[in-house]
């Protein structure tokens, strides 16, 4: 049974754009759990939750979390080995 409760990595673009001037959804991301390397837009993003959680399409481990509180934004990138962004 395939899951239908997630969105694509694109859906995180708005929250990420408040933090970064480059578009990270088109960056290449490597999963710290299994090494899966793909464009971040292919991550599975769960938004029906207290925060936004992006997971690896290969192994489901957490790549990134974003929680917006009234005063701050928490960004957890522990699950990413790296993000590769082209120089412009």
């Amino acid at each position: 049974m395939s899951e239908t409760n997630y969105l694509d990595g694109n859906a995180a673009a708005g929250s990420l754009s408040e933090l970064f001037a480059v578009d990270l959804t088109a960056a290449i991301a490597q999963c710290n759990g299994c090494g899966h390397t793909a464009v971040f837009a292919e991550a599975h993003v769960f938004v029906d939750a207290p925060g936004m959680v992006a997971r690896c399409p290969g192994c489901d481990s957490v790549l990134l979390r974003i929680v917006t509180t009234p005063n701050d934004t928490y960004l957890d990138l522990r699950g990413l080995t790296y993000l590769r962004v082209p120089n412009s």
């Binding site: 969105l7 694509d8 694109n10 673009a13 708005g14 754009s17 408040e18 578009d23």
Partner: protein, 253 residues
């Protein structure tokens, strides 16, 4: 300096509704005037944030339905399909009026986009409101005078649910654009097939794997899931299939 070249962090800004257009009984297009709009790529979206008098807030994502030409530079369009019992979509479809402010954050998303300079034919597959960013790509194709072959497969419940009816007619008159509607509940007279997009529809109407097309699939999550699986099963390279899931809203079309 080209305005799109400015890299900056985004935050919420206020646009003003300058026009609204009914598309169907349940969908409406909102024209927004956004001061200093930086321009956008076809397929990008923005986030909309609503605030109640007591400070309560709700935000959702909406695709930009219009192409950016640079000349009508500060005007964008959104098209919203009302989700029963939804919190935000009924407000945008039935409540907001010309002259009202609307808070937005965008444009965002650099992956589910089409650029006129991009190589290879383009296959668009949309379900329900998933046609919105695809319409922006078709508009951008037209306004750039591109001769890249475009095909749109658009799945709708019935003829009355089609949004952008006149627009699609106009776009389909181009030699480079093929528009095919798939009806899942009721078809118009003369259209024998009723049913969801399946392997037959894909093999009959979509570009073949060897055509080297980039495919954009957009709509409710179950729709996107099904179509992406069909494409991969038909031999399409998953790396050339780009998806935009709108969420689990309602049943798949």
């Amino acid at each position: 300096m080209e305005r799109t070249a400015i890299r900056r962090r985004l935050t919420w800004q206020v646009g003003t509704v300058t026009d609204v257009r009914r598309e169907t009984e349940t969908a409406r297009t909102i024209v927004l005037e956004v001061p200093d709009w930086p321009g956008h790529l076809a397929g990008q979206h923005l986030d909309v944030r609503l605030t109640a008098p007591d400070g309560y807030r709700a935000s959702r994502s909406y695709s930009i339905a219009s192409a950016w030409s640079g000349s009508d530079s500060s005007t964008i369009e959104l098209t919203v399909e009302q989700v029963p019992d939804g919190e935000v979509s009924p407000y945008l479809v039935d409540v907001i009026n010309v002259g009202d402010p609307l808070e937005i954050r965008g444009p965002v998303g650099g992956w589910f986009v089409w650029k006129p300079e991009q190589d290879g034919p383009v296959q668009l597959i949309g379900g329900g409101s998933g046609v919105v960013p695809l319409r922006a790509m078709l508009r951008s194709h037209a306004s750039a005078g591109s001769t890249t072959p475009f095909r749109l497969l658009y799945s709708v419940r019935r003829p009355e649910s089609v949004i952008y009816v006149s627009d699609l007619k106009e776009l389909a008159s181009s030699d480079d654009v093929d528009v095919r509607l798939v009806y899942t509940r009721d078809a118009p007279a003369g259209e024998p097939r009723v049913g969801r997009i399946d392997a037959d529809v894909i093999s009959q109407y979509a570009f073949k794997p060897e055509d080297g097309a980039t495919t954009y699939v957009c709509g409710p999550t179950p729709f996107v899931e099904t179509v992406a699986d069909l494409l991969v099963a038909a031999g399409h390279d998953p790396a050339r299939v780009r998806t935009e899931r709108f969420g689990p809203t309602g049943d798949s079309r």
